[in-house]
Symmetry: C2
Subunit: 212 residues, 2 copies
Amino acid sequence: MTEVLGRSARKRQTILSAGRTLFLSNGYQGTSVDQIAASAEVSKQTVYKHFGDKQELLLAIVDSALEASVTPFLDRIALLADTTDLDADLTALATDYLRAVLLEPVVQLRRLVVGEANRVPELARLYYEQAPARTLAAFAACFSRLHDRGLLYIPEAAVAAEHFAFLVVGRCIDQALFYGGPPVLKSVDPARHAQAGVQVFLAGYRPRTAAD
Amino acid sequence: MTEVLGRSARKRQTILSAGRTLFLSNGYQGTSVDQIAASAEVSKQTVYKHFGDKQELLLAIVDSALEASVTPFLDRIALLADTTDLDADLTALATDYLRAVLLEPVVQLRRLVVGEANRVPELARLYYEQAPARTLAAFAACFSRLHDRGLLYIPEAAVAAEHFAFLVVGRCIDQALFYGGPPVLKSVDPARHAQAGVQVFLAGYRPRTAAD
């Protein structure tokens, strides 16, 4: 029984992986279920049995891609709440965040979802809830905790989270939608760029001292 | 002669306007030159005579749409350099900026261009250069001038411009790609949201006084 379930789960993974590669390279309209089945070396019926239709398959692909890429980063943000060196740890996290959002598969996935947003609004909603919204919520929770510890002064955690995120990755993530991730990453020094954003964030959100 | 040129220019405008409406509603792939010609009440040959092919027409549409929407805003940014009330004028400009980027045709144009970025990279380049890049350059020039006037302390004008822009519109412009402009605009108080961004910007970029 485990053996059978194992095989089915593996097939599912193979289809997801083949579909992701094809959708990201050729777009949703430019990819057929036939191509995905051929690339995964399964029958078209197997694809339909696992995923219903092409659109359901796209939703499953986006969901699994985000689960794999976003969740470890959320854990990393949560750890920042316990920092003993806020400036250094915030800058290191910001640098990794910037690099992560400019990875080519991440940018291609965004482009794919945005390009289909009118036709498949539930895909756009799924993406936003699973990626930007969860990331912003994790930053907000972390900053609230840092406020409680007296390391930051955060009157509105959700707003502070969005300020932090877009100071660090805003222009780059936006430009990457148009030029692709790697050219944008090549045009900046990620550590320096992240640090500049962190400095403005800290200027806005560092607790006032008696001397201020 | 003027009369003839006038008619040709009007026809051109009619085709651009019909094409824009159709492309923004139905996407690039979902729109045919036949439909555009019918909607503009001209022959297909007239469309080709004016614009070459469907892709050239899309480039011309994006170019003219951005020229009409971006240029007046650049003039407005330039005026800010002469402000006599920085906090108020910066907040007012930020509020209008936020409202402008969330207009539905603006968001739909972004979606259309991002969705075609892989297939038509020159369209994505044209969009970025004509809209975000020109806007950021105008903010950079304005902030340099405010630095010279002693009202801001701006070590790197391009970085300050990007911080300002994405503190004010970053999360909203990003979310609007997924949800559309109007739902995002309805979820925020634009003046309050803009002001929160401006405050962090000023905390980071206000000149240090002797007391600091």
